[in-house]
């Protein structure tokens, strides 16, 4: 660090003190060539980045934030997307217009980048060690063994356990969080002046996100790297950045000190964006749905287990079992929203599959008085339960018109004639806030949020008693997410539908649910009303999950959560062995928590 600055004046200091500026973007324009001429992706974007500071570029999908980062790296997809104006300067070097050979020597050495998808960002056929070493040797004339020593040091620095072993492992042998640590190690091993982190934690579980964010902050403090943090998550912005640029449709909407922007957003879009962020504690003001315990539950699960066999050996004997869901019991009452929350691999989606008979299970699942078995279910039962999935584009047949998609359940169940089905489809479109004259369009003509509305309309076509929403809002931008959640709440109020809401997002769950079950490794560790679970979390895992959620409040600085040590628990057990069964005990008024873990 050449100069000491106060964080609150970092903004002005960076502009005034040009020696501290490592990266300057001036009037950047990026365009894509399409059939209808040039379309602008980023227009007239200017900002500076000072040594050691973190600048967040926040915005929703299509805001141009990722394109900006690729433009800085000189990695825009050729030949269609090009920088059409402005200058990007790294120190005294103008990056725009730099020949590829010189740009290459800057990439990875002076500017490094980490990406959103740790699962696909590492080459599957090369070992972690060789991918790290080549990053070093691409820029510095060091021997193989010297590179290896530095790679190992970098792995230690990102706090990866057993770094020597990791060097020889392949990416698929590591978890998502571990792979992202490898990416960070790879990006920081040459001590770049600028690190661009494009949604670095979006694909990670919330507790892993927490650890990776802490790591990034610690490393920045240690190495003095300037970070450009691209994110859609205002919670991450509040926790990580000193300054923020809010972008929308390729333009900078607002910029300034994070604290100021969060406290006094001047632009209407910023205000809307901040309002749409689901906040922990916001749901507390809303009363839970009236307890209707006397009514017959819509769904009842008793001691439900789902296990998959792992075969090995000469004869393909079953050697291990994956205990995906282990002795889970709960019921869902008419008109309530029951949330299953947990991190990836905890078995929450498997429960949904078992409930509609898509995977075989042990134990008892009773839905609207129908005993679910493996295999094909009775028509009446299939009408009563409908599903909404995470990715609406994948859930809608791209070659079918929306009208046919929404009416398809009616066609399958032979309800009404063509005219009646069409009429029903029109009603459903209005119900989910779309227009009936959009029925003749195809799914690709809609936005992500609209597509999810179409999926909801389709799920409602048969007037189900239970809708299973499996991460139904996770792929949506926050503002759209808020709208879809409001829609679900409205529909529930008007039609008394019960919703099983499966999510990894604690803040969303806290906003929509009446009752909550927290799952860990296939078992429920805590269950109760929203007030009970969020107001008085009793299980350590629940507390860990709640603490890990980044809050959109820059003034709130929490202590980093304790790092987990030792082996990550696994749901795979040898035949004849199983996970230790967690006994749920009632701590009063139906608040259940796993005993022994507290």
């Amino acid at each position: 660090m050449t100069s000491t600055r106060q964080t609150s004046t970092a903004d002005t200091a960076a502009v005034a003190n040009s020696s501290a500026t490592v990266l300057a973007v001036d009037g950047l324009c990026v365009s894509v060539r399409s059939e209808s001429g040039l379309a602008t992706l980023v227009s007239d974007l200017s900002f500076t980045l000072a040594r050691g500071e973190t600048l967040a570029i926040a915005g929703e999908s299509g805001s141009g934030k990722s394109i900006t980062s690729l433009a800085i790296m000189g990695l825009l997809p050729p030949p269609a997307v090009r920088v059409t104006g402005g200058v990007i300067r790294l120190g005294d070097t103008a990056l725009t217009g730099l020949p590829e050979g010189q740009m290459r020597s800057i990439r990875g050495d002076r500017i490094a980048m980490i990406f959103q998808e740790p699962m696909t960002s590492l080459n599957p056929v090369l070992t972690v060690g060789s991918q790290l070493c080549e990053a070093i040797r691409a820029h510095e004339p060091v021997s193989r063994s010297a590179a290896q020593a530095r790679a190992l040091e970098a792995l230690r620095q990102v706090r990866l356990s057993q770094p020597e072993q990791r060097m020889g492992q392949f990416p698929h042998e590591l978890s998502g969080g571990m792979r992202q640590r490898v990416m960070i190690a790879m990006a920081l091993v040459l001590r770049p002046e600028v690190l661009i982190a494009d949604e670095p934690t979006t694909a990670l579980d919330v507790t892993v996100q927490r650890e990776v964010l802490d790591l990034l902050r610690d490393l920045q403090r240690e190495l003095g790297t300037a970070i450009i943090l691209i994110t859609h998550d205002m919670g991450v912005v509040a926790e990580m950045a000193e300054r923020v640029i809010i972008m929308r449709q390729g333009r900078m909407v607002e910029t300034g000190n994070v604290r100021d922007i969060f406290a006094r957003p001047s632009h209407a879009y910023t205000r809307a964006l901040l309002d749409a962020v689901p906040r922990m504690g916001a749901g507390a003001s809303r009363p839970s749905a009236a307890h209707s315990e006397r009514k017959v539950p819509v769904a009842r699960l008793d001691d439900v287990s789902v296990r998959y066999d792992v075969r090995a050996g000469l004869m393909g004997r079953v050697s291990h079992r994956v205990h995906a869901v282990e002795r889970v019991s709960f019921d869902i009452r008419p008109g309530e929203t029951f949330a299953l929350v947990g991190e990836s691999g905890c078995g929450k989606s498997t429960i949904a599959k078992a409930m509609v008979g898509l995977v075989p299970h042990e134990g008892m699942i009773d839905i609207v008085g129908h005993r679910v078995t493996g295999g094909r279910q009775a028509g009446a039962f299939r009408r009563a339960v409908q599903l909404v999935f995470q990715d609406p584009m994948a859930a809608l047949d791209a070659r079918m018109r929306v009208g046919d998609l929404v009416a398809e359940p009616l066609v399958i169940h032979g309800i009404g004639n063509a005219t009646e089905q069409r009429k029903r489809a029109e009603e459903l479109m209005i119900l989910v806030g779309l227009s009936p004259d959009q029925l003749n369009r195809y799914p690709h003509e809609f936005s992500g949020g609209q597509r999810q509305r179409i999926c909801i309309a389709r799920a409602l076509a048969l007037q189900p008693q239970l809708v299973i929403a499996d991460e139904a809002v996770s792929a949506l931008d926050v503002s759209v997410q808020a709208q879809v959640l409001a829609l679900l709440r409205d529909l529930q109020k008007n039609f008394g539908i019960a919703i099983l809401f499966i999510s990894h997002d604690m803040a969303v769950v806290e906003n929509i649910s009446d009752r909550v079950a927290v799952m860990f490794l296939g078992q429920i560790v805590e269950m109760g009303t929203r007030e009970q679970v969020f107001g008085d979390p009793l299980h350590p895992y629940t507390r860990r999950l709640i603490q890990a959620v980044p809050l959109p409040d820059p003034d709130l600085k929490r202590a980093p959560i304790p790092r987990l040590t030792g082996e990550v628990a696994s749901p795979i057990h040898r035949v004849g062995f199983g996970p230790e069964r967690r006994q749920l005990v009632d701590t009063g008024d139906g608040h259940l928590v796993a005993m022994g873990d507290r």
Partner: protein, 306 residues
Amino acid sequence: MAGYLLRRLVQSALILLGVSFITYFLLFILPADPVRQIAGRAATAETVANIREQLGLDQPFLVQYSRYLAGLFQGDLGRSYLQRTEVSTLIGARLPATLQLMAAGIATELVLGLSMGVAAALTRGKALDNSLMITSFVTVSAPQFVVSLLLLYVFAVKLGWFPIGGYGTFAHIVLPALTLGLLGSGWYSRMMRSSMVEVLRTDYIRTARAKGLTRARVILRHALPNAVLPVIAMIGIDIGIFMGGIVVVESVFGWPGIGQLAWQAIQRVDIPIIMGVTLVSAAAIVIGNLLADLIAPFIDPRIKLR
């Protein structure tokens, strides 16, 4: 691993058994009569009946087949009707020539196909890409007897660079291998191109570029091993198609391999030879597939054989 190998070998044996049954059955219901071929047109009805009895061809299908199978299990492929020689001897004498031609042909199609595919993928949408894809389309569509005759006419007859036919020196193998390789290169270049285009779009290629690696290194070390994986699986399957081409090419170029043997045997309904060549070809295909599957884990560590 040992378990996997054992299971695959048992599977392969069952496949060969099935092939032998189907081929034998097809030859049995064939209207052509091998006895007539042996006895000649002038033979009396008595001679014909005698020969038929001698060869056991008067027996019902299942008896004939089980006799053949019994011999097969003892490693006996039977005797040729016309050449009065053990089929295994005939095939054994000609197999090395065919294997040489196969190796040369496969090497040609892979070298041509993969390099054309990679070049096309890297110049996607440009003139080179278009001309390479048109070339591959032509080589895939052109019948082999046409290609072989064309090559013969230009390079052997007109230019005199290579001998017109026969076997022995390196010059002899060039034209037949090129004929075989051209067809395959069309297939492989198209497959390699689409596989490479897909890999070049992946996140890990972007990561490799973000590290500041040279273009050559990104392509050779990061993209190529991933792109070549689906192609390797194809090589195993491709050997089957290849065997069909070998029959044609060996006949045109007078290459003394088992393709030529099969060609002659089919014309004379020499059932033991047809059976023998079919089984050897089937074994080659099965082994080729097995090898392709065994190589895959060395390139992609995610593949586990079990």
